[in-house]
Amino acid sequence: MSGEENSFAEPWQAQAFALALALQDKGLVSPGEWAAALGRERARVGVAADGSDYYHGVVAALEALLAEKGLADHARLAELAAAWHRAARATPHGAPILLENDPVGQHG
């Protein structure tokens, strides 16, 4: 059975996929809404012909849905992503990367 290509290539892909399902499990996003949001991302010009950027579309669709629903706008998400980068750089090698490690702090 040729199953090797249908697992996740990187952990963030699995996390993003699971977030999308978790939101649907909670009823916060309907399956139809999700398919439409993901379909919009996958229909953009410039998507890779080999499907390799599929999970980039999943992340973009999640971001768009959160913004649409007023849960988090792009600025807030960008700020948090930057905080995660700072936290990672401030975390000694070998220790788990936690958001609390962000030297700029304040994410409650």
Partner: protein, 204 residues
């Protein structure tokens, strides 16, 4: 901020974006991180085309189950313990000498997760999504599947609410085989329609 230690840790941009999403959703109490981990675990290790292969093998071996699968695939599949997450409906489409079935999702990548696990990369690619509808015979040839000219190809476009499972034709030379052995002949691609079930000699 200057630090003395070398900056040997960083996150790649996609990881940081996903962590930002997770952080927001967890802060608002909209997701439970443990539930998210459980979903990852399920899709990485528990569901996959082996589930679908069991469904197909049972349909080959048990005509009553095949009838049930034909009339109410959602219930017949659920009887084996495989249920969709959001209760999406399943329809089983049976290949015959006259008709070959092919599944696609032209919108995004709707896929029968509960029986096939995660879709392969090509299933999510724009060329497959558009060409499966326009030129299914050409697409199948690219998969190495050349069907007789008289075999009709029927294309099924999945949606968020309805997912399709192709039941390939049972290979000849498998009379009397047990379900478990039959399941070994059922490939993922044969249940999407881009392949056929394996011949008995290819199984071992």
């Amino acid at each position: 901020m200057a630090h003395d230690h070398p900056h040997d840790n960083d996150l790649d941009p996609m990881t940081a974006r996903v962590r930002a999403l997770e952080t927001v959703l967890a802060e608002k109490g909209l997701i439970d991180p443990a539930a998210v981990d459980a979903i990852v675990e399920t899709y990485e290790h528990k569901v996959g085309p082996k589930n679908g292969a069991r469904v197909v093998a049972k349909a080959w071996a048990d005509p009553a189950f095949a009838d049930w699968l034909r009339s109410d695939a959602t219930a017949a599949i659920a009887s084996l313990g495989f249920t969709g997450r959001q209760g999406e409906h399943m329809q089983a489409v049976f290949n015959s000498a006259d008709t070959h079935n092919l599944v696609v999702c032209t919108l995004c990548s709707c896929y029968p997760w509960s029986v096939l696990g995660l879709p392969p990369v090509w299933y999510k690619s724009p060329p497959y999504r558009s060409r499966a509808v326009i030129d299914p015979r050409g697409v199948l040839e690219e998969f190495g599947l050349r069907l007789p000219g008289e075999t009709a190809i029927r294309v099924w476009d999945s949606t968020a609410e309805l997912r399709y499972l192709v039941v390939p034709q049972r290979p000849s030379g498998t009379q009397g085989w047990a379900e478990e052995a039959l399941a070994g002949l059922v490939t993922r691609d044969s249940m999407i329609g881009t392949g056929l079930a394996l011949a008995p000699e290819a199984a071992s």
